[in-house]
Symmetry: C2
Subunit: 343 residues, 2 copies
């Protein structure tokens, strides 16, 4: 089998061996002893011990969030689930296929499998390279969130410039897109307070952004509609990943996350979280955020990019049909169809 794999996979495998070694340490033990032996290709994230979380926490000059987070009830957060929008056009299929390829490659290289049935959920690929440890989960979410913060930033930047150079109003898309970018950055800044990624992971993140940001920028200039569709499908996968993480947390498969203290930035950002909220409470909210991005981006992809207003930011009092909103009370995971919206 080995000879069939391209070199990047061998590297990943090497990292994985290193990683298995590390993950066999008991939850309470600090992994600092192994650190000096780490390979440069090590992708494992050092999960911070309780005392280290407090030490690395940052309470200095924390401002009110630029985009205040809407209130999500615990019940609504728990109801969020994977939903899939059936591709309808050729562009939809390309966007969906694109995500499938990117995700498949990423999952294989990093050693992740989405459980497809209850048996796989229960054993969690224990003892194989697909077993998910706390360290692997942190590496995964840190990498994904650092990528996830790009599309909203690119889209809002391009639309801002578009408005300036065509002397045209934007109709409030920028607002939601910036909020999305900010929200993803808050996810990232929360996770990095819980673990310390390896230098290899950091390098991959640095290079990955360079590639993804430039590509997404060019695609967004050329065809913003299918970029939003692409992000819609990306967010479907994010919901699926966090649903898996929530399952593992609820079934006590990740003891290091059991009593972890969530960082100050998370307490300040999500209105329902407080100092004693659990890691599970945090992930429930992050999954709900991803579900909302999924809804927003599938909806924006259904709109006329040049003319239609963003229906998420302004509620029309006279409107009798249900319309999009920012919270979790009214949602439509697969996006709102253009004909159902007052634009």
């Amino acid at each position: 089998v080995r000879s069939q794999l391209p070199s990047i996979c061998s590297t990943a495998r090497a990292a994985w061996i290193q990683h298995s070694h590390y993950s066999t340490s008991t939850p309470a033990a600090t992994p600092s002893k192994t650190e000096e032996h780490r390979s440069v290709f090590d992708i494992s994230t050092k999960v911070l011990a309780e005392s280290d979380i407090a030490k690395h926490d940052d309470k200095l000059f924390i401002t009110h969030p630029l985009f205040p987070h809407p209130t999500f009830s615990q019940e609504d957060c728990e109801k969020v689930m994977f939903e899939h929008r059936e591709p309808k056009t050729f562009g939809d299929r390309m966007a969906c296929k694109g995500i499938a390829i990117v995700r498949g490659t990423f999952d294989f290289v990093t050693g992740y499998k989405k459980p497809r049935n209850e048996a796989e959920e229960a054993h969690g690929f224990k003892g194989t390279r697909y077993e998910m440890t706390e360290s692997k989960w942190l590496t995964r979410v840190i990498f994904l969130e650092s990528i996830a913060g790009v599309p909203g930033a690119v889209a809002s930047f391009v639309r801002h410039l578009h408005s300036l150079r065509l002397l045209k109003r934007d109709k409030a898309w920028i607002e939601t897109l910036l909020d999305e970018a900010f929200n993803e950055r808050m996810h990232l800044l929360t996770f990095i307070k819980l673990g310390k990624p390896s230098w290899f992971t950091r390098t991959i993140i640095y290079v990955g952004q360079g590639v993804f940001c430039n590509l997404f920028f060019l695609f967004y200039l050329a065809n913003p509609k299918y970029c939003h569709r692409f992000v819609g499908y990306l967010e479907e996968e994010a919901v699926s990943t966090y649903t898996h993480l929530i399952y593992e947390l609820e079934h006590n498969k990740l003891p290091k996350f059991k009593d972890i203290k969530i960082p100050t930035i998370a307490v300040q950002y999500w209105p329902e979280l407080h100092e004693d909220s659990s890691f599970l409470d945090l992930i429930l909210r992050i999954r709900a955020d991803e579900a909302k991005h999924r809804e927003v981006n599938h909806t924006l992809a259904n709109l006329d990019q040049r003319k239609d207003r963003n229906p998420f930011v302004l509620q029309i009092p006279e409107e009798t049909r249900p319309q999009p909103e920012n919270g979790l009370k009214v949602t439509k995971g697969t996006g709102w169809e253009r004909e159902d919206l007052t634009l």
Copy 2:
């Protein structure tokens, strides 16, 4: 003299002749008759007649401003004046020189002279190619605002990506930079409701953004400090230009602007403006905005770009020294020095 001018100036002069012709029409007359004779190089902006302003005004789906504008008292707005920061380092001098060259060229090509004494202020270069009409003022401010919206957007975008790829907090710079970009876009969207730029102006704006945005992006990646200094000097010039416009408005030199109705977007954005506010009230606020950008950018240029927090967004209750804030009550036109700030 003509033979000494490069070709772009001849073009500007041709436009100017066209333009003088247009500006001789009486304020009340609509200039539509001349429109079919306009040269493709015409840079004059058609000042909308009262009835047209109402017609072109846009009240549909106006959302609350993404960055609510702070309250500026009339008195504070009137006190704003031109202030110049003496360049201290080599980079400062380059930034200052850069602005001087760009502005000198732009002024010469478009036929603008900053009055340097009371006599020049009083006669306003009447009868020369430097005479400013309502149409020329609109062309000028629309072009300048469409450029002015770029730096804040680029800087916030670069810092957002920087935070994502280095897994580091931003310390609230993004917030003020996005606010600046939004504020400049509101200036632009306000002005385009008062006049209709020619196709030539629109083309220059389109191409100008392409050049400026890419250059500023590269410079910001390479040396953000001197980019903020450059913007600081740019905003000094903006204050100077709007001070000139305010002088002309106060001395009734621009009759078409006398009883002009300000657009809905301005009423919604600036908290002190209402339906019957004058064009002068509007320009007083825009000048105050530019003065604030000048202060912010000169201050940011004084900071350590990687480590220092943005001191404009968070007031520290225990602090006894005066510190920056968002309003006009405490200002420092030439920027706050790093040693005077609690960072």
